[in-house]
């Protein structure tokens, strides 16, 4: 190498600057001596103090909620709202233990989960690719967007009569309504994600020799993923809303039907049990999606 610059500082010029800039980078720190379990636990506590605090407060707040509920029902408070017929937490717990041994209750839950799974999966399988393609190809967008915009504001529950006409079985129409509920949030958020892709990243990819298909796979898709997952989370919420409504109106099974049936049969504790089951199932499914999001987008977890 004839360059005097390199002759003057042969190998170290760039690594040296790297070290200067990186400061306490992992590469330059000496290997730490082994630490005791106590120190590790203490460090873990210090780092997670905020999270522990939130958990503790959360538990206390849930217990307080139960206590208030208990008091309101025990004393049958009537103050604008009437708690005379509302079941107490203990009554709900009793009906919960009974329901856990009742295969019919479990079947209601499994059936609702199956409907959610099929309806939501279809919505995701159709909504995400459609959103990606609409975001990339103007013509597809121009054709589909107006139709989507007209159909989108119609609440899934308003589709119930139409769904019953469209589909031969009740089961299919309920799944269809679940699908519709989650489809539009997924589509709209995917589209939104596509519209926010940084054009500089697309240009960077082009400069590195990427063609259309690679740009789609390597830039547009990963760049839209955060919004796709927002759409999936929202879509899952709406899927449950739509499912419960459909089950209450046209169902024969399912947790929504169970809740409605409990009201007709004057089984007040079962109403609350059904509601809580719906809440827990909804929470569980959105946690599943959040977990999937963290798996798929490791660059976003800290």
């Amino acid at each position: 190498m004839s360059s005097p610059a390199l002759a003057r500082h042969p190998e170290d010029s760039m690594p040296a600057t790297a070290v200067a800039e990186a400061g306490s980078a992992p590469a330059v720190t000496p290997p730490a001596p082994p630490v005791s379990f106590g120190t590790l636990a203490l460090r873990w506590y210090r780092l997670n103090r905020a999270g522990l605090r939130a958990t503790a407060i959360g538990i206390i707040s849930l217990l307080a909620f139960l206590l208030v509920w208990h008091l309101l029902t025990t004393y049958r408070v009537v103050f604008f709202v009437r708690f005379t017929n509302v079941p107490s937490p203990l009554a709900v717990y009793a009906s919960f233990t009974k329901a856990m041994h009742d295969p019919k209750f479990l079947m209601h839950i499994l059936l609702s989960c199956r409907r959610i799974f099929i309806g939501f999966s279809l919505a995701a399988i159709i909504g995400v690719p459609l959103g990606l393609i609409m975001g990339r190809f103007k013509l597809v967008h121009e054709i589909i967007f107006p139709v989507a915009e007209v159909l989108r504001p119609i609440p899934a529950i308003a589709w119930v009569p139409m769904a019953i006409m469209l589909w031969p079985t009740n089961e299919q129409s309920i799944v269809f309504i679940t699908f519709l509920g989650s489809f539009f949030p997924i589509l709209v958020n995917t589209l939104h994600g596509m519209s926010l892709v940084d054009p500089v990243l697309v240009r960077a990819a082009q400069c590195l020799g990427a063609r259309e298909r690679s740009i789609f796979r390597e830039v547009y898709f990963p760049a839209s993923l955060p919004h796709i997952f927002t759409g999936l989370t929202v879509g899952m919420g709406v899927a449950w809303v739509s499912l419960i409504a459909a089950e209450m109106i046209s169902g024969q099974y399912g947790i929504g039907y169970f809740t409605w049936e409990a009201y007709s049969l004057v089984q007040y504790a079962d109403i609350a049990l059904g509601m809580i089951a719906i809440g827990v199932l909804g929470l569980g499914s959105s946690l599943l999606i959040r977990g999937a999001g963290q798996l798929v987008m490791p660059w976003r977890s800290t």
Binding site: R203, A210, E218, P298
Partner: protein
């Protein structure tokens, strides 16, 4: 340094009779007119000019993102028709893929070329080692400092062995100390690779310190106002920036750009005046104040 491709005979950029106009509702707006520039193989050339003069437009046309309205851009006699891996580009906004690790970012161009995984991993590690970044290969860009991000950006652009490196104000977002280090690193890489560089900046010191030749552009519509050879010997050191030779070049370029900046601002001021906003200037024209 034998592992690096050395293209001494390649990378000749020619821009001839170049002009570029944008279509607007009021008719075409001329961004760049009647411009000729060239970069010889292995040469380091900068473009400076007042903001909005079209220097980035010119660079984007060389990269292939914009089509000239008239004229032609060629690299080694071949007409530029669109972006390609032959012309590596470094952007001011770093533009690393946030969903790829540092190494995957560097590998990207090689992956597009169809190089097998193990081979491109090895190539990327070597390059990252040269830039002092091997400890960060598994990091996501978000975790890196601005200087490190831009080093990855440069390494990524060089990984495919382009004939030309185009840089659009690459160090504009960095603090002064980091910028000096980055200039040193860029110079080192350029000398090792003997690659042609076209560098757009608004920093006159940076342009003089780095370049063999500097083009100074006029205010919009941009064209070449002057071409200034930089005869400073290499290797260049920070201390040179105090030398009388450097300062003379700096003074010359400074007055050229100042002239153009005032022209550009003068236009804006009269536009503002027409909209009745001169009241805010207490009756004084901004040109007088300046």
């Amino acid at each position: 340094m034998s592992e690096m491709p050395a293209n001494t005979s390649k990378g000749h950029i020619e821009v001839r009779n170049f002009s570029l106009a944008y279509e607007t509702i009021e008719g075409p707006v001329q961004a760049v007119t009647d411009t000729q520039i060239h970069v010889k193989p292995g040469e380091f050339v900068s473009i400076v000019g007042p903001s909005g003069c079209g220097k980035s437009t010119l660079l984007n046309a060389v990269a292939g993102f914009l089509k000239p309205t008239t004229g032609v851009v060629t690299v080694d006699g071949e007409r530029v028709n669109g972006p390609s891996a032959e012309r590596g580009m470094v952007f001011q906004q770093y533009s690393l893929f946030p969903w790829k690790t540092v190494r995957e970012n560097v590998e990207f161009g090689l992956k597009m070329r169809g190089m097998p995984r193990s081979q491109r991993e090895r190539a990327a590690r070597t390059l990252l080692g040269l830039a002092g970044l091997e400890a960060f290969e598994k990091h996501y860009p978000e975790k890196l400092s601005g200087g490190m991000k831009q080093r990855v950006g440069i390494v990524r652009a060089l990984a495919t062995g382009p004939k030309v490196l185009l840089l659009d104000e690459p160090f504009g977002a960095l603090d002064a100390q980091t910028r000096v280090i980055m200039q040193q690193i860029l110079t080192n890489m350029w000398q090792r690779l003997k690659i042609s560089v076209l560098f757009v900046t608004h920093d006159i010191d940076e342009a003089i310190f780095l370049s063999d030749r500097v083009y100074c552009m006029t205010a919009r519509p941009g064209s070449i106002k002057a071409e200034i050879p930089i005869p400073l010997e290499r290797p260049r050191q920070q201390s040179m920036m105090m030398s009388s030779e450097f300062l003379a070049l700096r003074r010359g370029l400074m007055s050229l750009i100042r002239e153009e900046s005032l022209k550009a601002m003068g236009g804006e001021i009269s536009d503002l005046g027409m909209q009745g906003l001169n009241i805010e200037l207490h009756g004084h024209s901004l040109v007088e104040i300046l």
